[in-house]
């Protein structure tokens, strides 16, 4: 039975994890996402579904616990925020290299360093270009509402298992801390499938299972990489997700923004449209794979694009790569935990895009 609730983003994420039939959560407290583990500890998932929840001694331990459990063919997740996610980079690279499914949520706060605990989107590059070493990709989903947070937990697990690849949910302090109405999906059963690739105790008559990201011979390691790249091409073909507002109408300008920031931009766009500016909003929901083609197609008919982010201009590079010179690309951003207001964005539309003084 679907349920309508008013929930904090972080708590909704936790509840969604239980309902998605997760087998385990390993994590470490850090603001602004500690509610995830707190909710889990308080809501007895072990009794509800048998889901295990463990507070690890660090983020490094968390991600390696995730690696171990994911290798057993289980639905496993961890969550953290920026500095904690940085500590996980080696582990994430291992998981990607060993081709294991798992979900990692980053409730981003302002950086660099200890920074501030306020909302930010400054871990975009880390998420989509690969914060860890080596040529790997995280499927990266950016929810803009508490509802999407919930839905993406389920989707993230589906994609993680479909591609045997780690999936990152890139959210931020706004979405993590805000409360909205959500419709919770029904409790999903936990997995019973015994995957061939998973460590579960050797099956007599079959080869023993090895989970590894190591290949001593470069030739073999290149094969692994080629397999990964082929998988990424598949992902790029199948899993691009975005929504647009007014983009199929006659527009001169377009804003590109993701996550919470896109909602603020939406308000600015609405105001701009009221003032007669023909403008639409393009919101990538998957940051990897990125909707290059869709943006490229739009670019031809536009006088300009404004990218709005809560960072110094990171997705901006992907927008530019998508546009490939077809139209001008401008940027407006706030950072270090500052949230742009709709008015500021409206102003940027006027000054940067339209060229008003």
């Amino acid at each position: 039975m679907k349920e309508l609730k008013l929930m904090k983003g972080n708590e909704a994420l936790a509840e969604a994890a239980i309902r998605a039939g997760s087998d385990a959560y390993f994590g470490y407290p850090i603001t602004p996402q500690s509610e995830v583990i707190e909710y889990l500890m308080a809501h007895n998932p072990y009794e509800r579904t048998g889901m295990v929840v463990l507070q690890a001694e660090s983020e490094v331990a968390s991600i390696n616990m995730v690696y171990g459990a994911a290798g057993c063919g289980k639905r496993v997740l961890t969550t953290s925020s920026s500095p904690g996610i940085s500590l996980m980079q080696e582990g994430i690279s291992y998981i990607a290299g060993a081709e294991l499914p798992c979900v990692v949520a980053n409730v981003v706060r302002g950086g660099p360093g200890l920074g501030t605990i306020q909302p930010s989107q400054s871990d975009y590059f880390q998420a989509v270009k690969g914060g860890g070493h080596g040529d790997y990709k995280l499927i990266t989903l950016a929810p803009a509402t508490v509802q999407e947070t919930v839905d993406y937990v389920k989707l993230a697990f589906e994609l993680a298992f479909k591609y045997r690849n780690p999936v990152m949910i890139l959210t931020d302090g706004i979405i993590g801390q805000m409360m909205e109405k959500v419709e919770l999906f029904e409790q999903q059963p936990r997995l019973t499938e015994q995957f061939d690739w998973a460590t579960k105790g050797k099956v007599s008559g079959k080869d023993h299972v090895i989970i590894t990201s190591l290949q001593l011979q470069s030739e073999e390691q290149e094969k692994v990489n080629l397999r990964l790249q082929a998988k990424y091409r598949e992902v790029e073909k199948n899993e691009v997700r975005y929504v647009t507002h007014h983009c199929d109408e006659e527009i001169d300008y377009m804003i590109v923004a993701f996550g919470s920031c896109a909602r603020i931009a939406q308000k600015a766009m609405e105001e701009a449209r009221k003032q007669g500016i023909k403008i639409g909003l393009f919101r990538p929901q998957s940051l990897y794979p990125y909707p290059y083609d869709a943006i490229n197609k739009m670019a031809g008919k536009l006088k300009g694009i404004l990218t709005v982010e809560m960072n110094a201009g990171q997705m901006l590079e992907d927008v530019k790569l998508a546009v490939n010179g077809k139209t001008k690309v401008e940027f407006y951003g706030r950072f270090g935990g500052m949230i742009p207001s709709p008015n500021e964005i409206l102003n940027a539309i006027k000054t940067k895009l339209i060229g008003e003084k």
């Binding site: 008013l6 409360m179 909205e180 308000k267 949230i339």
Partner: protein
């Protein structure tokens, strides 16, 4: 209808839960809602605030420039947020501890002695419900019954016995709110 509200005060004054109750009540009345708290260092330094938006339509930004209603329960909040009331909007404040009263002329200003009333009612915890009553008096966007339903959602079962007291507080707030200008 879209009502964008900011509530600000000291940490212990129930600022965050007041916003939450408002949102729950909105849900009971089939509204769209968002609630967004200040979080972090302010909390340890003793102040807190939250934004609550209640609307008939989908809510885009949870972050807004200015508010239809601003409710302030201490002086630092008054200093910080008086300017964020929309022209023609509403500012409600609790008189306790306020040393500099609001100066804006283009808005409606209401005052309440909610803390004092709460002390009188022997329960400082319900101060925020008194204020909520005052707000609902000025902006009856949610029916009382839905507020009570909302309360029932927020409060754990074992506190449901307190709902009548809360109702009382809301009524009290509706009574004592005074339009200053």
């Amino acid at each position: 209808m879209t009502e964008e509200i900011l509530i600000a005060g000291f940490g212990g004054q129930g600022v965050l839960s007041m916003g939450q109750i408002l949102c729950y009540s909105g849900v009971m009345q089939n509204k769209e809602v968002t609630w967004f708290p200040s979080y972090g260092p302010e909390m340890r330094s003793g102040t807190a605030n939250c934004t609550a938006i209640i609307s008939d339509d989908m809510i885009s930004s949870p972050i807004v420039n200015t508010y239809d209603t601003v409710i302030v329960l201490n002086q630092p909040s008054m200093d910080k947020f008086e300017q964020t009331v929309k022209p023609g909007g509403l500012l409600i404040y609790d008189s306790n501890g306020i040393t500099r009263h609001p100066v804006r002329k283009d808005i409606t200003v209401c005052v309440m002695d909610a803390s004092e009333e709460a002390v009188k009612m022997n329960n400082t915890k319900i101060m925020n419900m008194i204020v909520l009553g005052g707000f609902l008096k000025m902006k009856p966007i949610i029916a009382l019954e839905n507020v009570l339903k909302g309360l029932a959602k927020v409060l754990p079962e074992r506190y449901h016995k307190l709902i009548p007291l809360n109702e009382q507080a809301i009524h009290k707030g509706m009574e004592i709110i005074k339009v200053v200008k």
